[in-house]
């Protein structure tokens, strides 16, 4: 077993202590009445361009991303870089769709995407489908943030047997739960500033220091096996790795802003302007993510995968240990502490936002819609606070009792599920043409088909679609959302002919400033 790296551990704990303090005092930041749901759960919609940049950046580029993308580069090579085109394509979507969504939500005091769908299409069952999809897709995502935390705690050499092994994770989660409960979205917003500064410092240090140690990029890429350096050129009658790469990037881009935590982050902005400015400023994170993906190759070149001192870590965490191992290999202990704190805190920010987003969904779109129709503001906010605790507890229990493999598989399914809300939410922002029942049937078929596809390929991201003699391997989410959309388009005129009417409580002017 590795020994505890005391210097790194102390730096890690000091930074963790600092953000804990910050999380609690955040309740007083831009003070609002935390007994109202939009204050607790959306920070009162008053974050300007800069805070939104930190918050949404900290929200979307999660700890798991920083561990898993380089790990994929380390293990599978070039395909991991799909994260870069993916994060290039999300920003036009952010720019075009979300200022409109922000305006209509602000106007009608909508807190969630399901609130919007309820208002736009007047169908509580369609809103329920959006709600359940959001909650179910978010849960494994929270669980995966814990995996990021587990990996860095293991990297610090903090190990134990039985319950003691899980103790650090449990403590970190109690802290997270407590400050989220007391401060709401203000806590991750303030912590995100610290986290993002640490992540930038770490990423740039890694990209400057490690190549110097390893003798330059030419040497690094010479150490990468040719099969990993580029995408495999497809054979005859198939789009091969090219199709997988492009559909993974496009499908992930279409899905991203449908996740409840993305929508919560964006709706907390103070204006449509703040969102549009961020579409131009957030690519800063994409650039850093690209740099970090290269770190997977640094790990290959540094040979950490075969070094005996990291064998235990790789055995426990698989390729997810590539980045921590490289940092331990290349950096002085104190900086290892900074880098690991960046990843660890990087897990808490999205986990907090995700639990708030899931709590908002339950409170608004299940409890208020189906159980208690007329809660007071205080009851509603209190309900959300409790639900945020339950959601996090669920994720913690899941990660402690169930093998990580299942969390990863569920998160993959989550991407396939959440994209099925695209016609109702993203297209709903632009048009009321669709019939609500047609959307609901499209959603159901897309969800069922996507789940079946994923299971049939044993939870690989790509499904080998056969079409006219060609094999088109691609991201199941991308294929099934097209199916979903086709069904909605075909059935809408049918339902309209049967006399179906949409009761839209929003008007065109609500979407504009």
């Amino acid at each position: 077993m590795p020994e505890v790296n005391w210097t790194a551990l102390i730096v890690f704990l000091v930074l963790f202590g600092f953000i804990t303090w910050l999380g609690f005092i955040a309740a007083h930041w831009r003070k609002g009445d935390l007994d109202q749901l939009h204050e607790w759960g959306l920070g009162g919609r008053r974050f300007g361009t800069l805070i939104t940049w930190f918050l949404v950046g900290g929200d979307l580029y999660t700890a798991y991303t920083f561990i898993a993308v380089p790990a994929l580069a380390f293990g599978a090579g070039a395909i991991a870089f799909f994260a870069v085109p993916y994060t290039i394509m999300i920003y036009p979507i952010l720019f075009l769709v979300f200022p409109r969504l922000w305006h209509v939500c602000h106007k009608h005091n909508y807190i969630t995407a399901a609130d919007f769908v309820r208002g736009r299409f007047g169908n509580r069952w369609l809103a329920l489908a959006v709600t359940i999809t959001g909650i179910v897709a978010t849960m494994p995502y929270i669980a995966l943030q814990l995996v990021g935390l587990q990996v860095v705690i293991g990297g610090l050499g903090v190990t134990g047997t039985g319950y003691a092994a899980d103790l650090p994770l449990i403590i970190a989660f109690i802290i997270l739960a407590a400050f989220t409960y007391s401060s709401g979205l203000r806590a991750p917003a303030s912590i995100a500033v610290v986290k993002d500064v640490l992540i930038y410092v770490t990423a740039f240090a890694a990209v400057i220091v490690v190549p110097i140690q390893l003798g330059g990029f030419a040497k690094i890429f010479a150490a990468v096996p040719p099969a990993k350096e580029l995408l495999a050129v497809p054979g005859a009658n198939t789009t091969g790795a090219y199709g997988v790469y492009a559909t993974l990037a496009l499908g992930s881009a279409l899905a991203l802003f449908l996740y409840p935590h993305s929508i919560t982050g964006i709706l907390s902005a103070s204006s449509g302007h703040a969102i549009r400015r961020n579409a131009a400023l957030l690519p800063g994170y994409s650039f850093m993510l690209g740099l970090l993906a290269l770190v997977g190759f640094f790990a290959i070149a540094a040979g950490v995968g075969t070094a005996p001192e990291y064998a235990d870590g790789f055995k426990l965490f698989g390729n997810n240990f590539a980045v921590p191992a490289l940092f331990l290999h290349s950096f002085p202990s104190w900086f290892v502490g900074v880098a690991f704190a960046a990843i660890g805190i990087g897990a808490l920010v999205p986990a907090a936002i995700m639990s708030i987003a899931a709590a908002n969904l339950y409170t608004r779109n299940i409890h208020r819609e189906f159980i208690n129709k007329n809660p007071t503001d205080k009851e509603e906010a209190q309900m959300a606070k409790w639900v945020s605790l339950i959601v996090k507890l669920g994720a913690l229990v899941f990660i402690l009792l169930v093998p990580t493999k299942y969390a990863i598989e569920l998160q993959l399914l989550g991407g396939i599920w959440i994209i099925q809300t695209l016609p109702s939410v993203l297209l709903g922002v632009y048009t009321r043409w669709f019939n609500d029942w047609a959307l609901l049937i499209g959603w159901a078929v897309g969800t069922a088909a996507g789940t079946a596809m994923a299971i049939s390929v044993n939870y690989a991201a790509a499904y080998p679609l056969a079409f006219a003699g060609y094999i088109l391997p691609g991201y199941s989410a991308f294929y099934t959302v097209i199916l979903n959309l086709l069904i909605a388009v075909v059935l809408t005129p049918v339902f309209k002919a049967m006399g179906g009417k949409v009761i839209d409580t929003t008007v065109a002017a609500d979407y504009l400033a």
Partner: protein, 73 residues
């Protein structure tokens, strides 16, 4: 952190602007992998595949900024 006041200024936005077509560039630039799936020309030892896509991040940000200023009257 005193952005609130500036963010509250009037926001006028028409539904469609031709400037939005600039966004197509960043989609086309990365959605066709055969175009950039190559080692050469490498930059400072980094294969084309990698530096090209990183470069596209910068291009995407610049195009988005152009659209922002062009449509922000």
């Amino acid at each position: 952190m005193s952005e609130q006041s500036t963010n509250r200024q009037s926001e006028k936005h028409s539904v469609w602007s031709w400037w939005y077509l600039l966004f197509a560039v960043q989609f086309l630039a990365v959605l066709w992998p055969p175009f950039y799936n190559a080692v050469e020309p490498s930059l400072n030892g980094i294969p084309f595949f990698y530096w090209y896509q990183m470069f596209c991040v910068v291009i995407g940000a610049v195009l988005t900024a152009i659209v922002y200023f062009a449509t922000n009257d």
